[in-house]
Symmetry: C2
Subunit: 435 residues, 2 copies
Amino acid sequence: MEGFNLELSEQPESLEQILVDCRDTLKYGVRTGHPRFFNQLSTGLDIVGLAGEWLTSTANTNMFTYEIAPVFVLMEQLTLKKMREIIGWPDGEGDGIFSPGGAISNMYSVMIARYKFFPEVKTKGMAAAPRLVLFTSEHSHYSIKKACAALVLHSYCLEGRVIPADLEAKVIEAKQKGYIPMFVNATAGTTVYGAFDPINEMADICEKYNMWLHVDGAWGGGLLMSRKHRHKLNGVERADSVTWNPHKMMGVPLQCSAILVREKGLLQGCNSMCAGYLFQQDKQYDVTYDTGDKAIQCGRHVDIFKFWLMWKAKGTVGFEQHIDKCLDLSTYLYNKIKNREGYEMVFNGEPQHTNVCFWYLPPSLRDLPDGEERRERLHKVSPKIKAMMMESGTTMVGYQPQGDKVNFFRMVISNPAATRSDIDFLIEEIEQDLN
Amino acid sequence: MEGFNLELSEQPESLEQILVDCRDTLKYGVRTGHPRFFNQLSTGLDIVGLAGEWLTSTANTNMFTYEIAPVFVLMEQLTLKKMREIIGWPDGEGDGIFSPGGAISNMYSVMIARYKFFPEVKTKGMAAAPRLVLFTSEHSHYSIKKACAALVLHSYCLEGRVIPADLEAKVIEAKQKGYIPMFVNATAGTTVYGAFDPINEMADICEKYNMWLHVDGAWGGGLLMSRKHRHKLNGVERADSVTWNPHKMMGVPLQCSAILVREKGLLQGCNSMCAGYLFQQDKQYDVTYDTGDKAIQCGRHVDIFKFWLMWKAKGTVGFEQHIDKCLDLSTYLYNKIKNREGYEMVFNGEPQHTNVCFWYLPPSLRDLPDGEERRERLHKVSPKIKAMMMESGTTMVGYQPQGDKVNFFRMVISNPAATRSDIDFLIEEIEQDLN
C-alpha cells in the first residue's frame, strides 16, 4: 500500500492518474496467465476467451430474460445441451444453468435434490422434511459441506477416495438412526489429489437406496472432452446432476461454471418465485426462454459468451488437445521426480489428473530418521520455499497439509502455455531455494 | 437463429468467422447502454467502468486469497469500509463482501442472521433451531423469499409499504404460535414502486423483540451517495446488514453487489470451512487478508476494480451528480404525465426513487366505464405497446401487473446519459403506437 494511493475521495482524479492507477494495479498484481503460475486450478489466459469477456462487458447485459440477452440465452441453451450430450444423457436432454462458480453449482445440486425428494420444504420450511443425509468424501470440495450447512442437511463423511462398501455401510447406518439418505456426491477430480471417485459403483448404490447422485466435476469435468482420459468419469451419464467448471481445466476466463441436471423442470420447480415484474407470461415471445426463474440469483452475469467463442475458435478437438497436453505434462513431472533424490510422493501410482503431490526434503532432512522432529521440520519446508518463490517472483505453486500428512506441494497444470522447460524450472527453483 | 450459426463443432472455425460471430452477437443483442433503454434497474455503460472490467478480465484472478489478488483484496477492503462509513456505522467498522448480485447478498444476510441466533445450525442441521420467522413486505424483492425457501425459514408477508404497527402485530402473532421472530427485511427502494420502508420505526421493533434488521438497498442504496436524497434511508445505520448494488443506481457494469454487515466475525463464523489447501495458516503474510473463508463461494470473481476505478474517476461527488440527475429526470417524467390525458398513475404522490408507474389508456379506452371490460382491455395495452417498441427497436420499458392491478408501465432511470428529450421520445412512442 506504499506508493499506491488506494483512497477514494470526494473529488475526481485526473485521467492521467487513472491510467497510472491501472498500470499500478497490473504491476502489483499476480500474473496468473504466466506459464509458471501453478498455484490454482484456474490458470492461463486464452486470448479468444479474453476477447469474449471484453465483448461481454461491452454488451453489459443480464441473463435473466431472453428479451435483453437473446443471443446469449440461445448460446447458453445450445452449449449446455452440448455439454449434456458429452456427459452422455440421451439426446442431450435435461436442464442446466451457468452459475458464479463451482461452490454455487454444488449448492444448486443439493437444493434441487432436496426439492425433488421433499418439495414442501420450499413453502413449509424445515418442518416439512425429515432428517436428510448427504454422503461425501473427506477429500471432496468443501463447498459440499458449505451447502449442507446452508441448506440444513446432515453430512456423513467418507474417508479418502470413496470405497463403495463403505458408502453402503454408512447409508445403512444412517437409515438405522432414522435418517433419510438422500444425496451422494462423487468427486471427479479432487482438489488436492485429483482423484476420481468410482461413479458406476456409487450409482449402483444410489439406485438401490433411491438417492440422488451428484458428480462434482468442477475440476475433472474437462476430461470428458478427451477421448484418452474421459474413461476416468465412466458412469457420469448415470448421475442426476453434474458440476463442470470450464474456467478450470478448459482455460475459460473466470467465472464459468455449469450445473447440469438430468431431469427437466426441477431447476424451475425448485427456484421459481414467479416475480411478475420480470417474468411476465404475456410477452410477445416464448417465455420459456427466460432463464431467471431457474436461478437462485436474480440478475445473472453473462458467463457463456467467452466459453462459446473459445469453443468456436478451438473446436472440440482444441479442448481435447489442451487437456491431453496438460495431462502429459503432469506425467512428465511425475516421472521426473518419482525416483529423484529428495522427493517423496504423497500418494502411490500415476496421477489421474494433473495434480502431482510431493514432499521435497532438503539435504539436511534426508538422513533424519522418521519421527516427530522430521515431521515438524518437513512441515515447514514448503511454506518456506513458497515464500521465497513469491518474494523473488519467479513461480508459484500451492502447498497444504492433509489429514495427518504434513505440508506438501500440490502441483497442478491447467495452462496449455506451460512446457517441459517450465516444469524443469520449477524443480530447479525448489532445489536451489533451501538447503 | 436464422443466419447465425450458433452450433459448436469438432473442428475450429477460422479467425474471420470468429470476428463475424462477434459482430453478429453485438448486432442481434440489446443495447442496454442506450439512453432510451429503460427496461431494467441496471442500464448505461460507463466507459471508465468498462475499462476497469477489461483490465479485470485481463488480470483473470480470483478474490479468495490475498496471495493471488493482493491489490484487488486491498481495494475491496477499503471500498467496503468507505461504504460502511457512508451507511453511518462508527468508523466504518464491520465487515462485508462483494457477491454475484443482490439475491446472493440477501441470502448472505439471512444466513448470517441465522448463524448469529443459532450457530449450531451450521454443524447440527435443522434439528438445532426452532422455527425461525422472517418478516418482509409483499413488495420486497423475491430473493428474500428465495433465501427463506433455501435456508428453510418461515416467511411472514406484510402488505404494501411496511406499516410498523402491522409488523409488530405479526411479530406478536408469530410468537404466540411458538415461532421465533428472527429477521426483518426493510426494503430501501422496492423493485416496482421504488418505495422505501420506514427503517427507523422498524429498527425500534427489531430492538424491542431482538430481531435482525436487514436493509435491502440493492436498488435504493445508491441514494446514500446523495445529500439530497439520502434521508429516504434514514435509520440505515441501525441495520445489522445492508445489501447495496453499485451495478444498479451507480452505473457500475454488471456484476457489482455488496453485502455489508455491522458485526465483525459473523461472515467468517457463518461460512468458514477452513479448507486447508487454500487458507493455510502458515503463509508468509497476514492471512486475515484472505477473504475466501467468508464467502459461500470458493472462487470469487473480481467485481471491485471497475467500481473502485469509477469512484476514483468520478469522486463521491460524481456519483452524487449521477443520482441526482436520474432522480430529477424521473420527476420531470412524473410532472409531464401526472395530469396528461390518457395517463393514470399507479400510486399517489411524487416517486421516491426513479420508478414512475403508470397506465396509458389509448383513446378507445378512455370513455369506457370502470369495470371488467376496461380492466381486461387495459391489461393488454402495455404488452402490446412494448412488443411494438421491441419490434421497431426504438426504446424499451418494463411493465407488469401487481396484486389486483392490471399491467402497467414501470419506468426506471439509472443511466445518466438519458436526457429530457429521451423521456419526451418515450411518451411519443407510447402514444403513437396504439389507438
